[in-house]
């Protein structure tokens, strides 16, 4: 059980770093390898690791199941919402150039903005789904 203490301390220390790494992978996606998926998986893995070490209730106190259940569809909504905006400018679904007139950015930067927003949607859904799936399995083992 003493080894356990080391593991617990390490994983507690690890959590913020994992989340930071996820943020790096997320934001750096345009310039290097990475993006919403990879970041989402890493962030989800952070919470899962925490849950494995400290038990399901501890993980659920950081990420309540209700919140997770809300975040899973929220990511899709962010993605789809970005797509729907273009309808209002008579452009096709998911045409990020429509973000130009909204924000006053040039076409190229409107594209980049679109990519960033969409990747956030991906991150939210992927990370929360990973956590949701873990909660599902871990919750089954409780009784």
């Amino acid at each position: 059980m003493r080894l356990d203490v080391v593991l617990r301390v390490v994983s507690k220390l690890l959590l913020p770093f994992m989340l930071m790494f996820a943020a790096y992978v997320q934001l750096h996606g345009e310039y290097g390898p990475g993006g919403g998926f990879q970041a989402g998986v890493i962030a989800g893995a952070g919470i899962i690791l925490y849950g494995i070490m400290f038990g399901l209730p501890a993980a659920q106190s950081i990420m309540p199941p209700k919140l997770v259940e809300f975040l899973v569809p929220l990511g899709v909504l962010i993605f789809a919402g970005t797509g729907v905006i273009s309808f209002f400018y008579a452009m096709n679904f998911l045409d990020y150039s429509a973000l130009g007139p909204v924000t006053g950015l040039s076409e190229q930067y409107a594209q980049i903005l679109g990519i960033i927003v969409v990747e956030i949607g991906v991150l939210v859904t992927v990370a929360s789904t990973m956590v949701a799936i873990f909660y599902g399995f871990a919750g089954r083992g409780q009784d």
């Binding site: 789809a80 797509g83 273009s86 309808f87 008579a90 452009m91 096709n92 679904f93 998911l94 045409d95």
Partner: protein, 495 residues
């Protein structure tokens, strides 16, 4: 202006609705969201169909990126017809769903069941609308995952088993499809159907193209439940919640058949290579086997839902028979049967759902005399059954009429004979249910089950049955659409 966005909207509306049904986890709110969004689909599908018929093919570039750089939605008469079928059936089932889902599921599952229903519908429409081979795979998976989940929500513990088995088979099928698309991509460098069709004749690398055809055919064959790849279907249909069974039986296999037609005729049809493999001959043999084997197994089935599921295996045989004939007339027959089968199987499974709702069982041995107790529903079942047989005045007759015409055109008299012969077997299995329902005296318990189901369930049944009769008497709408659709699938066919 909004009309130009219809191809995207028809997929995006149910997807967005599924987001909201997930967020508001209240069963009745979810039902309203689902119903309102699903009711908009047939309207949009109809507008698109009119647009296609008047102005020709619609090409819609997702994200504003022109194909083949971006993903294209390409609507011609063929997929307009398929989208129309899917959205119409999905809408008709909705009122029925409320009563049936409430009876069959725990209340905290309702909202997310509707999420799955919406995702399944949008996945199916997405497969039909897309003009991109890989995008079709993504939407195939959306519809598949939601289908597995719906099946697993059935009441019996066998539902879980059926869902698991379908998941394994379905994933193998999808992976085969991905292998096929990968090989096509390697030799053509594109994923866009239209672009692929143009580049295929000059591509060379015959081996890879033929292997791709084999993989795509087997992969989609698993989804279609083409004999002998049908083993997952009877359990899946028999054990799913009634609403899910009706939706799947009426739409899911049809969309996969459409995709197979698209690959065969619009892509491979442009190239001489198609004739180097005996695909069509093989398909002819399998279709005929399916027509007979499916029907014969159905005759000996005691569970009415399974009986109808085996009948679906046989009916799929008629649809692929039209593909195997590779003529405009044969393909028209397939497409008409696609639409008609949605009416009759939709109606039949909804009636069986109503029986399950009142009686709690769909075993034929338990259904003795149920016709006297639930006369309207079982009357509708008789009409749907006559349709399955192909009696004149019903839609089934129109389908078979076209198929028989196509065999005459080819000079295959023996095939016309086989079509008629297999219809006679349908008399036997439909007859078994009808005999139990109408020619036995109901037991005392049977008299107490409460008669026909509530109005919300009865109206969808009546609507689909009405479709069986109306389009059976005046087939100008369906057959006109199907002929135009067959011609547009054949547009690139090498002369």
């Amino acid at each position: 202006m909004i009309f130009e966005q219809l191809p995207a909207l028809i997929v995006a509306v149910p997807l967005l609705a599924s987001v909201f049904t997930t967020m508001f986890q209240r069963g009745h709110v979810a039902w309203w969201i689902t119903t309102l969004s699903i009711f908009s689909l047939p309207v949009m599908a109809w507008l698109m169909t009119v647009e296609v018929l008047t102005n020709g093919t619609i090409s819609y570039a997702m994200g504003g990126w022109e194909p083949p750089i971006g993903i294209e939605y390409r609507i011609d008469a063929a997929n307009a017809l398929v989208i129309l079928i899917v959205s119409a059936v999905a809408a008709v089932i909705m009122p029925y769903a409320r009563a049936s889902v409430t009876a069959e599921m725990a209340s905290d599952q309702h909202a997310w069941f509707y999420t799955m229903y919406l995702l399944c519908v949008s996945g199916l429409i997405g497969i039909a609308a897309t003009g991109d081979a890989f995008n079709a795979f993504v939407f195939l998976e959306i519809s598949s995952l939601s289908t597995y989940t719906m099946i697993a929500l059935g009441q019996s513990r066998r539902s879980l088993l059926a869902a698991y088995q379908y998941l394994i088979v379905g994933t193998i099928g999808a992976t085969f499809y991905v292998i096929g698309v990968g090989l096509l991509y390697i030799v053509t460098g594109t994923l866009n159907f239209n672009d692929m069709a143009q580049r295929l004749p000059e591509a060379g690398y015959e081996n890879a193209i033929l292997a791709a055809l084999a993989f795509i055919t087997v992969g989609l064959g698993l989804k279609i439940a083409l004999f002998p790849l049908h083993v997952w279907l009877p359990n899946a249909y028999a054990k799913a919640p009634s609403v899910a069974t009706a939706l799947l039986a009426a739409t899911a296999t049809k969309v996969a058949i459409y995709l197979l037609m698209r690959v065969f005729f619009s892509i491979y049809g442009t190239s001489i290579i198609f004739e180097q493999l005996p695909v069509l001959e093989l398909m002819l043999i399998l279709s005929i086997t399916a027509m007979f084997a499916g029907s014969i197994v159905a005759v000996f089935e005691n569970n009415a839902k399974r009986l109808m599921a085996y009948s679906s295996v046989a009916q799929v045989g008629y649809m692929t028979l039209g593909i195997a004939m590779a003529s405009v007339l044969g393909l028209s027959g397939s497409l008409i049967h696609l639409a008609n089968h949605a009416f009759m199987k939709g109606a039949a499974f909804l009636v069986l759902g109503a029986v399950a709702y009142r009686l709690g069982s769909v075993k034929i041995s338990d259904m003795g005399g149920i016709g006297r107790v639930m006369p309207i529903s079982m009357g509708c079942f008789v009409i749907a059954g006559l349709s399955l047989i192909g009696v004149p005045g019903t839609v089934g007759f129109i389908s078979k009429y076209y198929l028989v015409l196509a065999t005459f055109e080819k000079g295959w008299w023996w095939l016309a004979f086989l079509i008629v012969l297999s219809s006679l077997i349908a008399v036997l299995y439909v007859g078994r249910v009808v005999e139990a329902a109408w020619f036995k005296t109901p037991s005392v318990e049977m008299r107490q089950i409460g008669g026909d189901p509530p109005m919300v369930m009865l109206v969808p049944i009546l609507l689909l049955t009405l479709g069986c009769v109306v389009f059976g008497i005046d087939a100008s709408l369906t057959s006109g659409l199907a002929e135009t659709a067959a011609q547009s699938l054949f547009a690139g066919w090498r002369q």
